[in-house]
């Protein structure tokens, strides 16, 4: 079997190692536009995850039937079906939320996370793995959007998920609920997470070097003994 990666790893990689927002920088349009509040972020991420999971399942099931030349168009047809379902369900069940997310729900069709996962993963893997991968990516997207939405909502309107956390004398920073605030917050978050992984890489490297030096001196010792 070519797949050496475990199912669990397939899930967790979407959360950290190749998080769609923080590592792959995909889906920037919904990330920046809808994260005015935490609840918007959650709704957007859940809708995207739903579309991602089902279209991954369908596409990986029929991956051998789709001719390579028309694969993108075929993916879009499948994705658009599920986006329409989400759009109609949200309009019927959560009209308020649907209104505040506006055109960004139909725009999930062209979300690069979804098309990217189909192209990079579902078209080459089994349905089970594709669904797990889609769930992982969806969770990563949810975490990113919730974090971004919470920070912006907290600083821009004193609340998180509608609960007031900052006292009344705190003057809300209007900039945080404007587009500029989204760019600033996302940029600083990216810098922070890149810094974290840079440190991790460095400490991993140091460990590797230490291990190498240890084995090297041991080998030298053996050579010395044999002389």
């Amino acid at each position: 079997m070519k797949n050496k990666v475990t199912i669990i790893k397939e899930y967790t990689k979407g959360i950290w190692q190749s998080n769609p927002v923080f590592k792959q920088i995909l889906g920037m349009c919904p990330t920046l536009a809808v994260t005015v509040s935490a609840i918007n972020g959650i709704a957007m991420a859940l809708a995207t995850t739903f579309v991602l999971v089902f279209s991954s399942f369908i596409i990986s099931s029929v991956r051998k039937l789709i001719p390579t030349q028309v694969r993108i168009a075929s993916y879009i047809v499948v994705i658009a079906t599920f986006v329409t379902i989400v759009d109609l369900v949200m309009k019927a069940q959560f009209p308020e939320l649907s209104k505040s997310l506006g055109p960004y729900i139909p725009l999930i069709v062209v979300n690069c996370i979804i098309l990217g996962r189909q192209e990079a993963f579902s078209s080459k893997n089994t349905p089970l793995r594709s669904v797990v991968d889609a769930l992982g990516m969806g969770s990563g997207f949810l975490i990113a959007l919730f974090m971004l939405g919470s920070i912006r909502e907290l600083l821009g309107s004193r609340t998180i998920l509608g609960f007031q956390l900052l006292p009344d004398f705190y003057e809300p920073w209007l900039v945080m609920i404007l587009p500029a605030g989204a760019f600033l917050t996302l940029g600083l978050m990216l810098a922070f997470f890149n810094n974290l992984s840079l440190h991790k890489k460095k400490s991993d490297n140091d460990k590797l070097i230490a291990k190498y030096l240890k084995t090297k001196t041991a080998a030298d010792f053996v050579i010395e003994e044999n002389k």
């Binding site: 003057e171 209007l174 900039v175 945080m176 404007l178 605030g181 810098a191 030096l213």
Partner: protein, 321 residues
């Protein structure tokens, strides 16, 4: 594992030509700018009261503290004494409205140094003028507080007032030019008094810290673009003199646009830069939604500086066209 050890005694720095020699070290020049800002600071105290001294001090203090803190976290040499943090703090303080909230001032100063400067790698690497980044952030974060002006001490009636620019924009009232010249008008701390800015600015040009081309091209630009509309319809559009004295134009021309780091390197580039700022200022003031546009104009042209440098690069001797 071999380590390269540098010779600790001799430190030879090799850079490619051309080598430009300046009369002033960065440190000296920065302190000269601080000196040149003193008249504007004094005029703000005269016109708006001693509280303004507190605003500027808070701004300077938080700029210096932020800079040292970031340098400390990044394990870099702490460079407070080069005065650049102090200047950013002072400039930011002087472009805030009078009686501004001290907490907001500190926040603006932190954003100016943190996001405006240190994120790019510190002094010399920033793309945008840090003080203006701080002010743009405050303008977007607290639009009401940032446009609450008070009457200067020498005027008599009510407490709150409009700046000459917003009076022109929203009520089509032209302010008295002589009041604008000495600074007896509503406006940001250091921006109102033309005479005190001119003293500081001309001092900087004479001692060679600031290149004369940028302010001069900005004045010429405003005379051309502002004058054009004034000649078309003098009742509707203000005169170039009004443009020059109103808002932050003079302050921007002498202290903001001339920032060494964020202005073009070549003489030709400086002319383009100055004219560009004037054009954007006139456009925003006459046709934009905001009464004042110097801040956005300078930030906008800052973004073009790498491009301007690239296209005005002098030809190498012997290079074919």
């Amino acid at each position: 594992m071999s380590t390269i050890t540098a010779n600790p005694v001799y430190k030879l720095e090799l850079t490619s030509s051309p080598h430009v020699h300046s009369r002033w070290s960065t440190k000296q020049a920065m302190w000269m700018v601080v000196l040149a800002l003193l008249p504007a600071l004094i005029s703000s105290v005269i016109f708006f009261g001693f509280y303004q001294l507190l605003v500027v001090s808070v701004s300077v203090a938080s700029a210096v503290v932020t800079e040292s803190l970031i340098k400390y976290i990044r394990k870099r040499e702490i460079t407070i004494t080069d005065g650049s943090g102090i200047i950013t703090g002072m400039l930011l303080g002087l472009i805030l409205p009078p009686n501004f909230n001290l907490f907001f001032t500190a926040l603006g100063s932190i954003v100016a140094i943190g996001i405006g400067k240190e994120i790019f790698g510190g002094l010399g690497y920033n793309i945008f003028n840090p003080a203006l980044v701080g002010r743009a952030f405050l303008q977007a974060a607290f639009p009401v507080q940032m446009t609450t002006w008070i009457k200067p001490n020498m005027a008599v009636d009510s407490v709150s007032t409009a700046t000459p620019l917003s009076a022109f924009k929203f009520d089509s009232i032209f302010a008295d030019i002589s009041n604008m010249f000495i600074g007896n008008i509503g406006g940001s701390l250091g921006e109102t008094s033309a005479i005190s800015i001119l003293i500081g600015g001309i001092f900087l040009i004479v001692i060679g810290v600031v290149n004369w081309r940028i302010p001069v091209s900005m004045f010429l630009g405003v005379i051309i673009f502002g004058g054009l509309f004034w000649l078309l319809n003098a009742d509707q559009y203000p005169s170039p003199v009004f443009h020059m004295l109103a808002g932050g134009f003079l302050f921007g021309a002498f202290f903001m646009a001339t920032d060494w780091v964020t202005s073009p390197l070549t003489a030709k580039g400086m002319w383009i830069f100055g004219f560009g700022i004037s054009l954007v200022v006139v456009m925003i003031r006459l046709f934009g939604g905001l009464p004042e546009g110097v801040m956005y104009a300078i930030l906008f042209m800052n973004a073009f500086v790498p491009l301007i440098n690239r296209y005005t690069r002098p030809r190498i001797f012997g290079e074919a066209k």
